[in-house]
């Protein structure tokens, strides 16, 4: 028994395992299950509505701006449209940390690739990098993405699921508000829309998610990507102002919070400053 332990610790100090799936934590999971922990443990669904559509000259991406932790709104105005490349943007739904990390990572990889090839990034490159990463993590990286951009081969729009599968679509929605948004798209989408029609439809779809899905809310963000040009329209619509502000306000008088004890510890002794003293040495 002692010998095998010794062997295990020696292996741990050797070269770390190369690639593949590591089963080191399975024993720990077993132990936790015996102690009563429930699997799969609940991850915080962030609740989101994200959409994308292809129009005449490019793609339009849209997202709401609410980030939730269970039933509480953690951020009333967060950014869900992530930068991937100058001509490619990606909306993210699911666990906020996962969407942020995976888009940042692939964005860096794309930039290195641009330096290496000397060419503008292609949307399918970002797509392959993302799907390969997500597939390798067996769906545990909970990121559901809507990837859109315009490159030399034209405008592209893809959805990427946490397990690594992808779809190529003319219009797409993801997140808890995806059904509300898709209802609007299925009703009003047509091929070859103008930029204004596209932005209008995206705003409508996001608003549908904002008002009908409790996991989505606050403002509408839109990003329009065309050949050689992009417009990031942050908070293009703000349909949820605060409904009541008390004219009285809040005043906190001294004594409202009871002071139990006071202890003052001086950090520095009193120092006398002499005007026109010695000049500072270099």
């Amino acid at each position: 028994m002692v010998q095998s332990n010794f062997k295990m610790s020696k292996e741990a100090t050797d070269v770390p395992p190369r690639g593949g799936f590591s089963f080191d934590l399975c024993r720990r999971n077993e132990m936790l299950m015996q102690k009563g922990m429930k699997f799969p443990c609940s991850f915080r669904k962030t609740g989101t509505t994200i959409v994308g559509l292809v129009f005449q000259d490019g793609v339009v991406l849209g997202a709401d701006t609410r980030a939730t932790e269970g039933p509480i709104v953690a951020d009333k105005n967060c950014e869900k449209i992530h930068y991937m490349a100058p001509n490619i943007y990606c909306c993210g739904a699911g666990t906020a940390a996962d969407t942020e990390a995976v888009t940042d990572m692939v964005s860096s990889q794309l930039q290195l690739h641009r330096y290496h090839t000397g060419r503008e990034s292609r949307v399918i490159t970002a797509l392959s990098l993302l799907k390969t990463h997500l597939f390798g993590y067996r769906g545990y990286v909970s990121a559901a993405l809507v990837l859109g951009g315009v490159d030399v081969t034209g405008p592209h729009l893809h959805t990427i699921y946490p397990h690594g599968s992808t779809d190529t679509l003319p219009f797409a929605t993801m997140g808890s508000g995806s059904l509300a948004a898709m209802a609007v798209f299925e009703s009003k989408y047509k091929e070859g829309m103008t930029r204004d029609e596209g932005v209008q439809l995206v705003c409508e779809a996001i608003c549908s998610g904002i008002f009908n899905d409790l996991g989505s809310g606050s403002n509408v963000d839109v990003c329009v990507i065309t050949k050689g040009h992009k417009e990031y329209l942050r908070n293009i619509q703000q349909p949820n102002p605060r409904t009541y502000v008390s004219s009285k306000g809040f005043s906190f008088v001294k004594g409202q919070t009871e002071v139990l004890t006071t202890k003052i510890t001086p950090l520095k002794e009193k120092v006398e400053v002499i005007e026109g003293g010695d000049a500072m040495e270099e």
Binding site: R66, I210, G215, N240, T243, S246
Partner: protein
């Protein structure tokens, strides 16, 4: 070893929402939002959670609205019987006790209902009772229940500072605020709760009980 079997059906659902009540020297403010939801969906934006049980006694309840409805029916029926037997309306403290007994009666299959009872007592002073799901209750100067209660209670504590019933001489439970100030506070506090709680929103229903009658008003809230 087989793990413990879990039920795959629950008799309960949570329809969300928040209720607040504040007692004054000669008034009582009872307020609740009008959103009814289930999971991430909104079922309706226009559902009243406030029920008038007696002439000067109202109950606001959040939780599972089917159980809330059933509870309201039981209480109004019992009140009708009381009126036949005693030839008068039930006072607020009496209704408070009845609600507690009704809730505890179903101790082992509870009403999933988080209640706040508000009205005027026999002396015409504001009175608020707060309950848990199985009938534990207490007369207080103000209270809140529901999904936004954790957001609202600290603000009410700061503004209305409940005197502890343990401090002697016994201090009055009612707030020194004027009726208009109390209504302003309720509106402000709900507007804030709606910003951060997804289950609270749409519209706010405010009912003010005074010795000469009852007044109802509405205020729009965020609909997202």
């Amino acid at each position: 070893m087989a793990s413990k079997q879990q039920a795959n059906w629950s008799p309960y659902d949570n329809n969300g929402g928040t209720c607040v009540a504040i007692a004054g020297s000669d008034y009582c403010v009872i307020a609740a939002d009008t959103r009814m939801s289930s999971g991430y969906n909104i079922l309706t934006r226009d559902y009243s959670k406030i029920c008038r049980l007696a002439d000067k006694c109202l109950m606001a309840s959040s939780g599972f609205q089917a159980d809330v409805r059933a509870l309201q029916k039981v209480l109004t029926a019992r009140h009708l019987i009381y009126q036949h037997q005693h030839n008068k309306q039930m006072s607020c403290p009496a209704m408070g006790q009845l609600l507690s007994n009704t809730l505890y009666y179903k101790r082992f299959f509870p009403y999933y209902s988080f209640n706040v009872l508000g009205g005027l007592d026999e002396n015409g002073k504001g009175c608020v009772f707060t309950y848990d799901a199985v009938g534990s209750y207490e007369r207080v100067g103000y209270s809140t229940q529901g999904s936004g209660s954790t957001l609202i209670m600290p603000v009410l504590d700061n503004k209305l500072k409940a005197p502890s019933p343990l401090i002697l001489p016994a201090k009055d439970a009612v707030t020194p605020l004027l009726e208009s100030e109390a209504v302003d506070l309720v509106k402000d506090v709900f507007a804030s709760a709606v910003e951060r709680d997804i289950y609270t929103g749409d519209r706010l229903e405010i009912v003010v009980v005074k010795p000469d009658g009852i007044r109802r008003e509405f205020m729009e809230l965020r609909k997202d």
